[in-house]
Structures are given as structure tokens and as C-alpha cells.
Symmetry: C2
Subunit: 269 residues, 2 copies
Amino acid sequence: MMDNASRPIGVFDSGVGGLTVVRALMERLPMENIVYFGDTARVPYGVKSRNTIEQFTTQIVDFLLKNEVKALVVACNTIAAVAGYRVCKMAGAMPVTDVIAAGAQAALNTTQNGNIGVIATTTTVNSNAYARAIHSKAPQARVLSQAAPLLVPLVEEGWLDHEVTRLTVREYLKPLLAEQIDTLVLGCTHYPLLKPLIMSEAPRLALVDSSTTTADAVALALEENGLLNRNNTAPDYRFYVSDIPLRFQTIGERFLGRSLEQIEMMGLG
Amino acid sequence: MMDNASRPIGVFDSGVGGLTVVRALMERLPMENIVYFGDTARVPYGVKSRNTIEQFTTQIVDFLLKNEVKALVVACNTIAAVAGYRVCKMAGAMPVTDVIAAGAQAALNTTQNGNIGVIATTTTVNSNAYARAIHSKAPQARVLSQAAPLLVPLVEEGWLDHEVTRLTVREYLKPLLAEQIDTLVLGCTHYPLLKPLIMSEAPRLALVDSSTTTADAVALALEENGLLNRNNTAPDYRFYVSDIPLRFQTIGERFLGRSLEQIEMMGLG
């Protein structure tokens, strides 16, 4: 049994998108060990039902708990939206940080006019989780949500600066811009890769990328719980996925921003 | 135990796309009982690895065999491409029909100049299954394949006649048209819904929709094996899926072309 601070942080996602959160954690907390789980065999979650997502989430959290993690980071908006409560219950006293809570707080810190737009997967939008998280802190804020299911496949196709992607983004943003939003939450870990394109389409919008704000929230939670790792100059990173498809390495490295090693297959369910 | 002819045909797919094959079977063989399984909890397969697809396929075929089917129809191009052999081994003497064999034959019956284009998912294209199926019958044919991973999400978004879809189709077809194809195999059960758009983009192409040719192949296989159901004026249709997400009914009915009743949830794995 390791001492508490040296135990790894458990980060999980339905696929590879959560690696953007890992990347932010590596930069923000360079002494922490990290275990990542991406459910690439069953990705995407964003079009699936609440029950199914809860069941898959339970299996992932079980796996991470067996790996003796000291904290859990829900790096998937869809999981945070519909199974956050389940994760908290399983975690007991262990700190749990999720991308929606962090993104909601960041949006409130950013908006000037109180009109906040959210783009996310269909399931996340239908869960209304961002609106609930924002309204719990600022009941007067207006939250305008738009499901944007094509953006994940466009990012995975690598069409980050393609006319098709530009038209798709324009179509999804139209109803939000009509409502005078000044802040846009990128409510899916794939979307930060589209930041340059979104900024060129809507230059006056402030974009909230929850990966960095999540890393900040994790740092705070670890500190409050006396779990910061302060003496680790060679952090250990382990990446588990339930499937290693073609082009996995390429896509994963696009999200992680560095080479992706020590990947292991781990089937669940 | 039912007599052999009255046992149902087992049709399966990674999701709802295979309902286009069910629709063609209902029209071609109106006296047959049908059991359908769609793995909606783990869809899509087209971006996953061969091992994972084989494992999921084994679970589905097990389920259908327990339902005492008399024949198996692989309505998913990706499964046919990488796990067809596994299905045949599990089926034993039972007839197995798949969309790739049927589509390959139809393409050969259609082409005039011997240049056949195929659009399909990434995994199907990488498996080279269409080229193998076509070359086994016509070694001199030229097969040009193009992975088209964005078309499934575009169909599921319902953007069947949208500028974004038109540009995407144009981009995917460009290298195929440059090779003078005269026939295009729609190598994924989602694509037939894009027929009008593809025809307007490439009016001189003959399109091969494998759902109808698969239904013809099933009819022939049942007849040859003495398994045709000839006295059934009230056929029984059962639809099993591993998840029932939002909008499932709407999307499913778009593929089936009629109202979708008697859907049951059935988790696998």
C-alpha cells in the first residue's frame, strides 16, 4: 500500500478526448502520477441512454478504485452530466472533480452580460447539467444550449480547418449568437481542438475550455485533502483503453499533445 | 421446438442501420419471422479494432442462436468485413448471408467499365473485404475504396439534404470519380438514406444498395436449404437492442420505413 499522496489520480473518459484533461493535469501538477481509462470499445457515450452510461461508468470507476487512485477526475462531459452522482457515491470520501462543475464556474467567471452558450453532445444537452450547475451558483444567468453531435466525428476525421467543419460550426452557433451570448462553454473534450476555427467564426466570444479549469479544480481539491504529491520528479503515467483501433496513437497524441506510451488494453463488462 | 421453416431469420448489426436490410426482407419475404439485434450500446463498430468487433459479434450470434434462428444475416458491413469467418464457424450448417458478398455480386452485375468504387467505414475499408469479395469473382475488376467516417453521423443528425453533407460527399467522391468509376457500392447500411444527394452529385454513377441484394441472397439461401416459410400470414418481428437512447424510435423508423414496435432492451457482455 502506497502512502496516500503518492497514489495516482484516476482520470476517465468515454474515449480519447479526456486526454486533453490529462495534458492540462501534467502541466498544472507535474509531480502527480496519473492513471487514465478511456472506454474506446464503447465510445461514444454522447448518443446513449442514461442507464447504459451509468452501467459503463460503474465498471470504469471499479477499475480505477482497484488501481488505488487517491482522487477521481470525470473528464467526460456526458458521464459528468448523467452519472456524476453515481461516481460520487462510489468514491466515498475521495475527492471527485468533473469537467461540468469546473466549466460552469469558469463560465461564470468569464461572462460579462450573463448570457452563456454551451455546445455539447446530445445526451449532455438533454441532461441540462450545465444549466443546473450554472444556476446553482447564479440563478439569474441565462444558459443557451446546443447539441453539436457532428463535431466529435469531424475532430476525429482531423478536419480541424475544413470548410465542412466551418459550415457545421456556423450552423450550430447561429441560434446561440442570436441570443447575444458572450461566453461559449466547449462542453465536450473534443471541442478544444476546434478553438481556432470557432474563434474565427465568432471572434468576440470568450471560449471556456474546461480542461485547464478542471486541472485547477483538481489541484485545489488535492491541496484541501492533503493529497498533493510534492516529491515526485519522475511521475508515472498509465493509459488503459478498452480497444486500440486503427489510428489510435495518432488521434490520442493529438489530444495529449505529446507521445503516448504505456498504453494497455483492458476490457470491461 | 418449432419446425425449421417457421423459425425466424436472425438479422444483426452494430446499431440501427441494419433495419434497412430488415425492411428489404419484409418486402422480399413477407412470410418470414424476423429477430433483429442491434448493438446500440456499443455502436459504432466502424472505428474499432478487429479483436473487439469479433468479441462483440460472438456475443450477438450466441444470443440469436439461443433464439432458434434458422439463418443468419450479417447486416453490418463492418462485421461482415472483419468477423464474417467467425459468424460462419458459429453458424455451422445454417445459411449465412452478408451484405458484403451480396453487394460485391451486385456491383459486378452493374459495372460496365469494371471500375467499382466503394465507400464504407474506416474499418471496412482497411479490411479490404470488398476488394477481396469482388476479385474472387472477377480478378480483372478495379476496386477503388474510400473511407467515409462522417457519413454515419451526418445521417443520424438527419442532415440528409444539407450543404455540409453535400460538401462532405463531394470530398469523399472526388478521388473515386478521378478513377473513372461507373458503379459505387454504398458499403454501410446508413448510406442508402443519402442516395438522392449522391445521385445529384454524381448523376452518371450506378449506386449499389446492398439491402435489396442481400434480401435476394437470403431468399435464394432459404430456398436452397428448404427453409422458406410458405404459410405465415402474420409474421412475427422482434427487435432487440442493447440500448434505447433518445430519438431511437425516430432514427429507427427512418431506416425501417415503418413504425417500430416490440423493441426490447437486451444487454450483452
